[in-house]
Symmetry: C2
């Protein structure tokens, strides 16, 4: 039974019973003051998570819908620098190609971004630059602050996928000059999957194109958000808003900075455990601050494959993620975002030690190391 399984994938994450209960509230009219109150409260806490004074809009769609809304509203035949060092960077590039001309700055998945390359690309004359902040596919954090500064220098809009970072990692959107930032509901916020929140700067509003896909038209979302009562242009996924609302109450109760610190601690414990177990983090980075605090990727130990490893974990009641595309069988990933705490990390590490042992891989001391890290 899935309900007894521990979901340690990089989203969707396990939902708190309060959030699950919220989703079973009876349906309400989506154009009522009652729904407006929920929408307004969600936006208010989301602004804290984004650390922004910009407009925040919530779309009924996945993070990918949010990425496409970001691109399609400001790009029309324009040159756009697209930074790629993982699967979601690729996705941004594919979306940009639908609406404009990507100027790719590409690396092997998991290789660090060189700011010189970014600057060279910006010099070609572009209207925007896209970057995935937390590259979920490789467990890596890209240099948002630095790229934000370059975007400003070259007067390009900075469009950043913060889907799996914001809410679990410190992301001061306004300070870093992110013009359009995106959160996915099912990641660090521990809300149900199916909603995307987007923060849009004044600078981005000024550069909006006349046309975008109808369903993703940010101008329409802004117009309806300003109505009395506040609403969305098309019927929203009401139960998901109930869930998001409750999840954000929990974010507020915890405090956004405390939440970020909890994510940092969990990630640190995982990395120390991997070190103790002689499992190699993927990629190998000199700068530890570039490792993701919301998902860790590890090189698959020699002689075993994805099916064996994840099958063994599943048998022990823990679901983890494999590598995507060409990284399948090459890496495995542990998601540690949302409501994650020492308990889930230790359970996961116990299952990992036991699975590897069964598969004949000597890898011990992870649980002990993590316990020490948690103190």
């Amino acid at each position: 039974m899935s309900s007894e399984e521990l979901l340690m994938i990089p989203g969707p994450v396990p939902l708190h019973p309060r959030v699950l209960k919220a989703m079973s509230r009876p349906m309400i009219n989506h154009r009522s003051p009652e729904f407006a109150k929920i929408l307004d409260k969600c936006v208010s806490v989301l602004k804290d998570a984004f650390q922004t004074k910009n407009d925040v809009l919530v779309l009924s769609g996945s993070g990918t819908a949010g990425m496409e809304a970001a691109i399609s509203n400001v790009v029309k035949g324009d040159n756009v620098v697209t930074i790629v060092n993982g699967k979601f960077g690729e996705r941004f590039k594919e979306i940009v190609a639908l609406y404009g001309n990507p100027i790719p700055v590409e690396y092997e998945w998991g290789s660090p971004i060189e700011l010189n390359d970014v600057e060279d690309a910006l010099e070609k004359g572009v209207s925007a630059i896209t970057m995935v902040h937390n590259e979920t596919s490789v467990g890596m954090l890209n240099p948002a602050k630095e790229v934000g500064a370059l975007a400003r220098k070259y007067d390009a809009l900075f469009i950043m996928d913060g889907i799996s970072s914001i809410g679990g990692v410190d992301v001061p959107v306004d300070k870093w000059g992110v013009d359009i930032a995106i959160i996915g509901s099912q990641k660090c916020l521990a809300a149900p999957p199916g909603l995307a929140a987007i923060a849009v700067s004044e600078r981005a509003w000024e550069r909006m194109k006349a046309k975008s896909p109808y369903y993703l038209d940010l101008k329409a979302y802004r117009k309806y958000a300003a109505k009395e009562p506040a609403q969305t242009p098309y019927t929203p996924a009401v139960p998901l808003f109930f869930g998001l609302h409750e999840a954000l109450r929990m974010v507020k109760e915890e405090g956004i900075h405390e939440r970020i610190e909890r994510h940092r601690k969990c990630a640190e414990a995982v990395r120390k455990a991997m070190d103790a177990m002689d499992l190699q983090l993927f990629p190998r980075l000199n700068d530890i601050s570039r490792y993701s605090n919301t998902v860790s990727a590890m090189v698959m130990p020699d002689g075993i494959d994805d099916k064996q490893l994840r099958g063994g974990m599943k048998k022990r009641g823990v679901l983890i993620a494999g590598g995507q595309a060409h990284l399948k069988d090459k890496i495995f990933r542990i998601g540690h975002m949302g409501n994650v705490s020492a308990k889930e990390i230790l359970t996961t590490l116990e299952a990992l030690e036991s699975t590897l042992s069964e598969l004949g891989v000597k890898a011990e001391g992870g649980v002990v190391a993590a316990k020490e890290a948690f103190g």
Copy 2:
């Protein structure tokens, strides 16, 4: 409290406790056999509702996302006949204008469609024709079978919004030759809002364009549905699938034809009640079969406005809908779709009689007439 209010708007509709409970299930991996099973079962019952052997895909988005997916995958600069006699016909035209050239066949909202006009427009040489089957904004059913035949005659794709008809009205998609049909989850199926189901004919697949919005790319949805295990290209709104799955189990338990008959009976009772109360249906149609069986629109009685009428109803615990755009204050609407039965209809009519009496409008006998209709 909303949970004690009776929602009689044309979607979202009240959800059965079984459906509410289903949405509070713990989260699962959306790329697991477990999710595939839910997706497959949903598709199987949806095919019964569509009465189709065509592919059925489910998008995490509103009915409008479904409409845009339908258009954007097959229209690229093409001429498209767009039939408009209400708000959602307008929406189809607006979406077509984003991807091609609308050849509008337009009427006053609530005026019947003349097939001669449709044929004249088709003769101009078009690749597709759009029509809203059940025009929710005016409580009217448009001639799908006849327009389907004309579409075939002129070799145009027939794209039909069945958002608020399918599941509550007899819509044999294959028999009528509907190439792309759309259902909204929150209407007749009594599932949560936020999902759109789309049935796509072989003829439509053959005419797909290379590019569409990324999030609405039907080819990607088909590709991922064929994977083992079946999945969606982007993270689906998992709790809504839990809800849809349970709602569709209830549809199957009832039987699709029994469900349609129940909707017919409820609509008939409402119309007989309006007649007894001397309230005029909007629009006035000669052919009774053109009235919607899922939503009824009535002319606002002289001397009272939307706020008074709907405010009085709300005070009595019943939420109904007003007119949209220029029909605000001109009409009011009662949604009777989903799990609706005699009980909800009678409660609504009682509240309506009482509200109108308080507002000084003589309108009695509705409850009695409806009771007779229910037998």
